[in-house]
């Protein structure tokens, strides 16, 4: 990085606490013009908190904030945006029903002199702006017609069109397919070449190493160092993040399955988004369902659990044939567990951790009246098993960092272990440490004789734990393989 360049933005000695939790301690951070500055750290390290301060969302903190060399204090995100700082949240804030152009101009639609929205100029400007960044899409179409990746891109453009010269991206790629990730990274590079500055948060360290000019590592709310692009390697970053070494296993250990018995059998399953699905899962194995987003594997997982309607076919679990149109309750009671890819959908953020864990099991905890003491007794071991941090069962889930929320979503199934675990994107949004913990958990389930299904669009996850892999594309199974001598590219070529 050019040493004599003045930082456009500087945070000095920032501390922030949430009641008992010290989220940030004396953190320094700066950003120079035209750089991509990555921010990495374990779940709960304080990345999102720091960025929320930077983007004017948290206004109470200790320390000072300089913009263009002058001390400044934002009162709201809007205030920050007026000063050119825009944040793109992980949860998209676009409105799918509106057109691309409307989304781009949300809240600032150009009007004619009669005060009516000037659709024509709005659409023209939108088309032109997108074109200049290499995107040619029909801006009059509703946004929901486009992929998640494109929606993310539109969100980025919106921030730029409202005048952002500093862009904060908090885990922009965690829900994207590999092709979309590539697209986004290209966009980041283009924006950088236009002189904009970007802060990039991600748990995908390969991505980080690829785009970042500098990378700052946070650990437990403390900045433990900023590395230049020459110094930053994945292993170095991991070392700094965790303060210890971990073994990154990219392949499962030798399949130790002494079981042969089939636990779950799926015969000729058909629905609108998938067809002719034949699968079985043995006791003590992890079956991977791999495919790009939209391949139908996530819907297949939902269908098994009774949350997605299928037209024909049968599901047999441990010798028992599920009735057609079974409910989720039936699936749970007969030994299926399901963790969805979207934790926002599966958790009650305002509710205590323990209540989120006992949610599916209330009927087993108290026939009429669930008792708090019993619920706590059931939940606490599960919390410990997945290492939720902080582990206080009375904490609301919404106050946990993203990765720890995910752990809660998984922990809920450990209280009354099922026969088969179905997990969609089990490690989305998790840091390397947590990822390896969760993958370790999956292996443990396998070794204890459960069946596990992992549906994912991340080849790394699939390759790291699955014994067998079923590749899906456009709703059909396109190949079946043993996880031996496979690599990411080989897997991605199959779809």
């Amino acid at each position: 990085m050019d040493v004599n360049k003045q930082p456009i933005l500087e945070l000095k000695n920032i501390s922030k606490n949430f009641r008992s939790i010290q989220a940030l301690q004396h953190v320094d951070f700066d950003l120079v013009e035209g750089e991509v500055h990555a921010l990495v750290g374990e779940n709960g390290a304080g990345k999102s908190t720091l960025m929320r301060i930077l983007a004017g969302i948290y206004t109470e903190y200790e320390g000072s904030y300089y913009l263009d060399g002058k001390e400044i204090q934002f009162h709201s995100p809007h205030d920050a945006l007026e000063h050119g700082i825009g944040m793109i949240h992980q949860e998209l804030s676009v409105i799918p029903e509106l057109s691309v152009a409307e989304n781009l101009f949300l809240g600032r639609q150009p009007v004619t002199r009669w005060g009516i929205i000037d659709w024509r100029s709005m659409e023209q400007v939108a088309q032109k702006e997108l074109h200049s960044l290499g995107f040619d899409i029909d801006v009059t179409m509703p946004l929901e017609r486009f992929s998640l990746g494109t929606q993310q891109v539109i969100e980025v453009f919106r921030a730029i069109l409202s005048g952002a010269r500093v862009l904060v991206m908090d885990e922009p790629t965690s829900a994207l397919s590999p092709a979309e990730v590539k697209q986004l990274i290209e966009l980041v590079k283009t924006l950088k070449s236009q002189g904009r500055s970007i802060i990039y948060i991600s748990h995908f360290l390969e991505e980080v190493v690829q785009v970042a000019d500098r990378t700052t590592v946070l650990r437990n709310g403390v900045s433990v160092g900023t590395l230049d692009s020459q110094e930053a390697t994945v292993d170095r970053l991991i070392g700094l993040m965790l303060g210890r070494e971990i073994t990154r296993s990219t392949h499962p250990e030798e399949i130790g399955s002494e079981y042969q018995e089939t636990l779950l059998e799926i015969k000729d399953l058909n629905a609108d988004v998938f067809s002719d699905i034949n699968l079985n899962v043995k006791r003590g194995e992890i079956l991977g369902l791999y495919g790009p987003i939209g391949a139908g594997h996530f819907d297949l997982a939902r269908a098994l659990f009774g949350l997605y309607k299928f037209d024909s076919g049968s599901i047999i679990l441990d010798g028992k044939t599920f009735p057609h149109g079974h409910s989720a309750r039936y699936a749970i009671e007969n030994g299926l567990a399901y963790a969805t890819e979207s934790r926002r959908k599966s958790l009650l953020l305002d509710d205590a951790i323990y209540r989120n864990i006992t949610m599916p099991h209330l009927s087993k905890i108290g026939t009429l009246a669930p008792q708090r003491a019993k619920e706590l007794a059931a939940a606490v071991p599960a919390i410990q098993q997945v290492n939720v941090n902080p582990p206080d069962p009375l904490n609301p889930v919404g106050k946990l960092s993203g990765g720890n929320q995910q752990k809660v979503a998984i922990a809920r199934w450990l209280t009354f272990p099922p026969k088969v675990f179905i997990m969609s994107e089990p490690t989305r949004g998790m840091d390397v440490g947590a990822k390896s913990e969760v993958l370790g958990l999956l292996r443990k389930f396998r070794d204890e004789g459960y069946g596990v299904i992992v549906a994912s669009s991340e080849p790394e996850t699939i390759l790291a734990v699955c014994d067998r892999i079923v590749v899906m594309s456009r709703g059909r199974i396109v190949s079946r393989l043993e996880n031996k001598n496979l690599d990411k590219d080989a897997l991605m070529r199959l779809i």
């Binding site: 606490n17 949430f18 009641r19 008992s20 929320r52 969302i57 948290y58 206004t59 109470e60 903190y61 200790e62 000072s64 001390e71 204090q73 009162h75 995100p77 949240h89 949350l307 409910s327 989720a328 309750r329 699936a331 749970i332 009671e333 399901y338 969805t340 959908k345 599966s346 958790l347 009650l348 953020l349 305002d350 509710d351 949610m359 599916p360 209330l362 009927s363 108290g366 026939t367 009429l368 009246a369 669930p370 609301p396 919404g398 106050k399 809920r412």
Partner: protein, 342 residues
């Protein structure tokens, strides 16, 4: 940090971001509706001699009892993030049907009362099924129910008041236990209803399902909750309480009038929300509804007790005070959620 502006906005900001030392301040904030109630009590106690007299306190309870029965069902509905716009009309139907069967058709009790309540419950069930099965918002189904029930009331009553009610209804609505100065039956009924509602919400699995579904329907479904069934049961409960409130109100007025319960729709929603239960679902409780009811009752009664207030201004003052109370509640309640919603 140098905060230069001390506008109202930044004051609100401060209240919302209380530092960790002020645990008491947060407790204080969490109980905002209770403080509102205390403030009203203090004010009226000082401003009027009659207000704090036991007989007047009993009056307050009597006055909010009918509202309390409506509010019991409405609390379930709002906790689920739904609405029931039909309660007032359904209550009128329950009363009118009961009175008609008793006086015009000569059917002995308990059949008229049971039929009234039964029909109200059935209408609740129908709204619930229609909303759950066909995904019509309860706003629409219960609006339709309002017209249906209202239409039936007009048809049965031909617009006329029935001025004779059964002894059972009269006892429920205006009887007293322990002589003339004793405890009104209506108050006991209201307390029993609220208590029952409280126990169901707080201590049963079904109550938990209501909160879960109201807070995050997708999450409830993922946990195996049949959210459609929860919706149907809740709408049925609300139909039942509306029907019951209709009978009680008839007993209190000693007549069944087509429009006697009209104002209860707004009052009920107002009282429940005043207690701090959120219209968006998932947040609130029966105890909070009790506080909301008492605020409502205190305000109404207190204004009656200050003779210097122009009676034509009362409605206006009630509205203004309610608005202020709501603002205070939401400013304090919003503080907790703010950080994580973004």
């Amino acid at each position: 940090m140098n905060s230069t502006k001390t506008t109202v906005a930044s004051l609100v900001e401060k209240l919302r971001a209380l530092p960790k030392s002020s645990v008491w301040a947060r407790r204080f904030a969490a109980l905002a509706p209770l403080w509102t109630l205390a403030a009203l009590f203090l004010f009226f106690g000082l401003a009027s001699e009659g207000f704090l007299r036991p007989i007047n306190l009993r009056n307050i309870l009597t006055q909010v009892s009918t509202l309390a029965i409506f509010a019991t069902g409405m609390t379930f509905v709002l906790l689920l993030g739904q609405i029931d716009l039909g309660i007032a009309a359904v209550a009128a139907l329950s009363a009118m049907l009961g009175a008609h069967m008793f006086t015009k058709m000569g059917i002995p009790e308990p059949w008229p009362i049971l039929s009234g309540i039964g029909v109200a419950t059935l209408l609740g069930l129908i709204s619930g099924v229609a909303s759950a099965r066909f995904r019509i918002p309860t706003f629409m189904t219960t609006l339709a129910m309002q017209l249906i029930a209202g239409g039936l009331v007009t048809y049965i009553s031909k617009g006329r008041v029935i001025t004779e009610v059964s002894d059972v209804a009269a006892f429920l609505g205006s009887g007293k236990i322990g002589g003339n100065d004793g405890l009104p039956v209506i108050v006991i009924v209201a307390i029993v209803m609220l208590l029952l509602g409280h126990v169901i919400l707080r201590y049963t699995r079904f109550g938990r399902y209501v909160y879960m579904t109201g807070a995050n329907k997708a999450a409830a479904r993922l946990a195996g909750v049949n959210t459609n069934r929860v919706l149907i049961i809740v709408m049925t409960i609300c139909g039942f309480t509306a029907g019951f409130a209709g009978i009680i109100s008839m007993g209190r007025l000693h007549s069944a009038q087509p429009d006697a319960t009209e104002s209860f729709l707004i009052d009920t929603i107002g009282a429940v929300v005043l207690g701090g239960t959120s219209l968006a679902g998932g947040r609130g409780s029966m105890l909070q509804t009790v506080v909301g009811l008492l605020i409502y009752g205190t305000l109404r009664n207190g204004l009656d007790n200050i003779p210097t207030i122009d009676i034509y201004l009362k409605e206006f003052i009630t509205g203004v005070v309610l608005l202020i109370a709501l603002l205070i509640n939401t400013v304090f309640a919003g503080r907790e959620q703010r950080d994580q919603t973004i």
